[in-house]
Structures are given as C-alpha cells and as structure tokens.
Point group: C2
Chain length 230, copies 2
C-alpha cells in the first residue's frame, strides 16, 4: 500500500452520486465533516503515530460515532493518506523566493523565516510528517523519491548557479537544505524537548523569533553572506 499518488485516496467518498445536481448542500456538509475529521486525525496521528492512533479516538475528537467515520473513510489508511496530502502541499509550497536572480541572503533568510513560521503555526502537521519519515516512510516513499527529490534538485541547481556567479560560498546545496530543514523543523517536532530545556511548559513567541534570528545569522554568515538589508 505504498505510494501517495499511485492510488489516490478517495476524497470523494465511497460512492459519489452520478447525479451532480445534489452537490450543493450535501457536498458542503460533507466537506465540513471531512475537515473536522482531518483536524482530529492530524492531531491523533501526530500524538500516537499511525499504529497507535485508534479510529475510535479520532471519531470521538471529531465528534461523531466511530462507524460514521468509517463511512467517510473506508480504512484508517485512507484517512491517513488524506491527512498526508495536505502536509505535502505545505512542504512543496515553500522557498518560492529561491530563484536565480534573487539575492541569496534575502532569499535564504526568507526561506528560514518561512520554515520557522510553519514550525510555529503547523507543528502538528510537521510531526505527522516527521513520524512517517522516522518510521521508514512506508506510506510516503513515492513522494520522497519523486516530488521531493525533484524539488531539491530544482532548488539546488539555483544555488549552484549562485555559486558559479560568486554570489555565495562554495557549499553543497543539498546538505544546506538538510541543515535548514532540520534546524527549523526541530522547533516543531521536538518542541517539547526544547521547551523542557528552556524550563517552559511550551515555546513562546520570543523563542521562535530568537531561533529564526540565530539560525539565519549563523547559516548566512557560515555561507559567506551578509545579513540582508531588510
């Protein structure tokens, strides 16, 4: 059952009406329910992992009976795929500013800021992603070997071009991405550990700000860039 896109999860439900005229109200209602299921599922998958998550708990948090959830998503795996698709989209939509003609310092600073914002605003999505990868990505392989690999290669080519033009030190672009991903996502995935070390119950706004500032400073300076004028 590997592959996110190979066999797409049925976001339209078990049996769509051949008749489109009934869409309106019903489809809206369905969309609302699916959204509340997705939110509950994301939380539970993040907390307990795929195996640990129980459909009954997800149903309870979404405020409907377990059997009803199985009406909307035939299997637990279908529901999981539904959640993952959302997360993949978040990932692939970052780093828009990394472009050949951009200023490297500005673009990288912006990218790091974007990733820290995601860590603060969507930590749960990040944890579902991390959990999947951590456990061997059995339901995620296609995304990583195709979409993500392509993404990195496109972005790395741009950085290579920056290097060629002498706009940035000669570093390995791919490992630079691994560095940016890890340093920023750690504030979502391992926020509990960081909060514990900082003596807090949970991270606060100034923690994220300091993190973004210091990560940006060290990486930019480490790559031979000066802080952007911003």
């Amino acid at each position: 059952m590997s592959g996110v896109g190979g066999d797409q999860p049925e976001i339209d439900g078990p049996q769509t009406d051949a008749d489109d005229s009934s869409l309106g109200v019903r489809a809206r209602s369905r969309a609302r329910i699916e959204a509340s299921i997705r939110k509950a599922a994301e939380e539970v998958f993040a907390e307990m992992g795929f195996e640990g998550a129980s459909t009954s708990l997800i149903a309870k948090r979404a405020g409907l009976p377990k059997a009803n959830l199985h009406y909307y998503f035939k299997t637990k795996n279908d529901l999981y795929q539904f959640v993952l698709r959302d997360i993949i989209e978040l990932w692939l939509n970052t780093a828009q500013e990394i472009q050949p003609d951009a200023d490297p310092a500005t673009a990288l600073a912006h990218y790091i800021g974007q990733k820290i914002d995601l860590a603060r605003d969507r930590p749960i999505a990040s944890r579902v992603f991390a959990n999947e990868v951590l456990h061997g990505a059995p339901r995620f392989d296609r995304f990583m070997r195709q979409d993500l690999k392509d993404w990195v290669e496109r972005k790395s080519a741009i950085i290579e071009e920056w290097i060629g033009r002498g706009k940035i030190d000669q570093i390995d672009p791919k490992h630079l991405f691994f560095m940016i991903w890890s340093t920023t996502q750690t504030y979502a995935d391992f926020s509990i550990q960081i909060a514990a070390v900082l003596g807090r119950r949970e991270l606060i706004e100034s923690d994220y700000q300091l993190a973004a500032k210091q990560i940006t400073h060290i990486i930019l300076k480490g790559c031979g860039l000066k802080a952007p004028d911003a």
Copy 2:
C-alpha cells in the same frame, strides 16, 4: 536465585550490563538473553513506535516465545524503559571536550563529529529517542526536565564564558545546541528522507563525511570561529 524478573523493575536499578565476569552461569545466561532482547526491542520500537511495537514481534526477532519475553520483562513498558536507559547514557556522554579552557573551534568541531558518528553508528537508538520526544515524551519527561536541562545549563555556562572572553561571537548557547543536535541527528532520524533525496537506498560513508564537514564549516564560521588546525 531470587532475582526473578518480577520483584525489581529493572529500570531504576543500578545494575550494570554486559560485564558479567563475576557473575554465575545463570546470571551470564540471563545477561546474554536480555542483551538480545534489548537489541530486538530497540529495532522494533524504532520501526513501529511504542504503541505499534508488538511484544510478539520483539520476541520473534529475539528468537524466543512471547511468554518467555514476559518472563524477563513483565510489561512492554518495563522493556521500553530498559531500552531508553541505554540511549540516555549515550546522550549524556557526549561533548566532554566542551570545557572552559578548551579552544572553542576545536571543541565544537569535535562535538559535531561525535554527534555525526553517533548518527551513523547508532541510528536506531537515535530514532527511539526521537520517537519518544516527537510523541510528547510521556515516558521521558523526567530525563528532559532534569538531567538534560542540567546538562545544557552546564555546557551553556561554558560557552557564555567563551563569549565573555571574546573567544566566540555572542550567540545564544542553548539555541546553538538545538542547532547542533538537529543538524546532526537528522542524519539518523530522517536518513531515509535524505537518502531518497540523494537518490540512494541508504546513506554511505562519504555522505556522513560531507555532512560533518559542511555542518562544522557553517556553524564555526557562523559563530566567528576559524577552522581548527587539526
């Protein structure tokens, strides 16, 4: 012999591991079996998480019947604690070279190298740790809020001293540790993702070497340090 599994939760005992030269035949046999159980358990916990791991699979991989495993470890949680202790020790034994009179560049470079070595040599232990933190550290809280927090505060005080003496740029020591942890451990925890992006089935020696080199370079330069003479 009296030490039959049930009466003493192996977790908290000061009991040492494999050094069994002074023990009897029975204890030696017990230690061997416990070691094989630990190895199997570490693998299974890393792959499936705590909830997903089944004692039957652990028993199977350790080459003994399930009931027998429950003879050595009364509950799944006891076994998990047993595995965690080993990992905690690994963590707390790093960064010996971070000392007030050390050269910052040398000490940090060595620490980063040590962490990358761990990522390469003990990725499974790292993943069990990561999984525990990722899911809210329900069985790990005390370690993080006490031992680890103390550890970071001791080490951070040393770095503050370096800063005071002008040996290193003025950075936040704690967030520097978060940065070193995340950039290095990502090569264990998310090695599957990194390998996928690099187009490999698994990471190879040169990947770790390049990672260590680039992480060290960027962090040292980013902190205003020159590469150590080494």
